[in-house]
Amino acid sequence: MHKFLRRNFAGYAFLSPWLIGFFLLAIGPILASLYLSFTKYNVVRPPQWIGLDNYFYMFQMDQRFWKALQVTFQFVVISVPLKLMFALGVAMALDKGIRAIGWYRALFYLPSILGGSIAVAILWRQLFNYDGVINSILRLFGGDGPYWLSDPKYSLWTLIVLAIWQFGSPMLIFLAGLRAIPQELYEAAEIDAAGPVRKFFAITVPLLAPVIFFNLVLQMIEAFKSFSGAFIISGGTGAPLDSLLFFTVYLYNEAFAFLRMGYASALAWVLLLIIALFTAIAFWTSKYWVHYENERG
């Protein structure tokens, strides 16, 4: 026993801050929110057990829940692929020792670092104002821009553009992935007279598949979690007509504006399950299109 203690002491000593945090701030709260999701709780009075009622209400009666799901899915499904396509396109242009690569890389990455800030969200609101910059540019080309912020048909696009603007971090990861593809493959393909399109689909895509997959999972999780942009641009409520009611915004409002902590906990668990499900799907499908190099032959 003494020996056992001595062998493990240092490891657990160094791990102890994380262990405390893990129990008090991660696994504890997750279980607590599972419990709260079966209760009615407004902070003032103690939680009252109501079984599955929160979930029944959510799935059968709560139209805002379905609306929030729809808005969030729409955002994820449109913004993530566009962002990744952009990131890959720019990374390919930057690949192979182009001059001034450091400058480009820095300029393209800067929006990713600022994108989560309130300053940028505020800026975005003004850019997409009816009299704002975006519509002025459209007018230069003879177009007539819509009311981006107050027309529910268009409002989500402001946030999609904001997401695409932050393509920098998947771009950096693509860039590192492209570096790992052996140049000889491209040279061999050239000798066989393969064009750029053929080279892209026959060499780049299959060899980059693990990186594409990694970026896809990461960006999807990020998109499901995104909050401040939608919160600021919609004025905190998901307006206009709930067209910016991101799941996270709905959850925040239920918990902290209406103090429906039990119901909000149920929403939080649904969010957790959705993210887990999507991650699982991404992992599961990856075996059909992702080939890790050391697995072959």
Binding site: G11, L15, P29, L107, L110, V133, S169, A176, A276
Partner: protein
Amino acid sequence: MTEATITPAMLSTAEVARAYREAKAKRAKKAALLKHVFLIITSLIMIYPLLWMLASSLKPDNQIFGDLGLWPREFQWQNYWAGWNALPVSFTTFFWNSTVVTVLSVIGNVISCSFAAYAFARLEFSGKTIWFALMMMTLMIPYHVVLIPQYLLFLNLGWVDTYLPLIVPRFLAGDAFFIFLMIQFFRQLPRELDEAAMIDGCSPFKIYWAIIMPLSLPAMATAAIFSFIWTWEDFLGPLVYLNDMEDYTVPLALRSFISSDGVSQYGPMFAMSILSILPIILFFVIFQRLIIRGIAMSGLK
């Protein structure tokens, strides 16, 4: 002059290869030029909104909207002064608050995450694989899921309306991303260093302090920089925990600009927005290399 006498049959393979190489180089040059045009246009589009915000922060209010220009006709420097004092509490307080929260969070993150990373990367103890798997799982958990119980916990401790809910979790290695980043780095350090030190009778703490830490300064700096940027920009945490304007951090204060209806102070609002992202831009310019390497390292290896 020799060219006239050469017939195709006389072309040596070396010459064919040279012609091929030249044609290829020419094509490559053209492709590079096209790429630069594409990249320059894209980067201008990317950076334009930020420059427009900078320009707008110096324009009078009636010249901001619809004005695409990046050079103010007259420089309205008083926007900065007006913005600094536009809210009931001055921005001196907000910047001080943000600095306190950020500095303490960064310290907490670097210490606690490097402790955990050292344990995972260099020490042997039973249950390590399970803890490691659990740690990696926490990477996926959205903050929104733990937010409500954490809030209730801090409410019961009487910590709401203080900075403790924003700082204390940082000392408990709450951000698994940093642990993961440091583990990747620690693993690259040669094991022989630890073993030699152990034979010399160094304790694990001494090894951490005298060997691992000094050799991992780039990883520590990377974690510190990311932690700085994310804490400085954090909005949800302060939004939930801080209700008194005296306690606001800069992002919360900025939000008050748009929620105070009727007041059209766009110039001052942009001026404060610019100041709020200035520290991040400075950090980015100074530590660009570390930041970009950090992404590649934590993302791929």
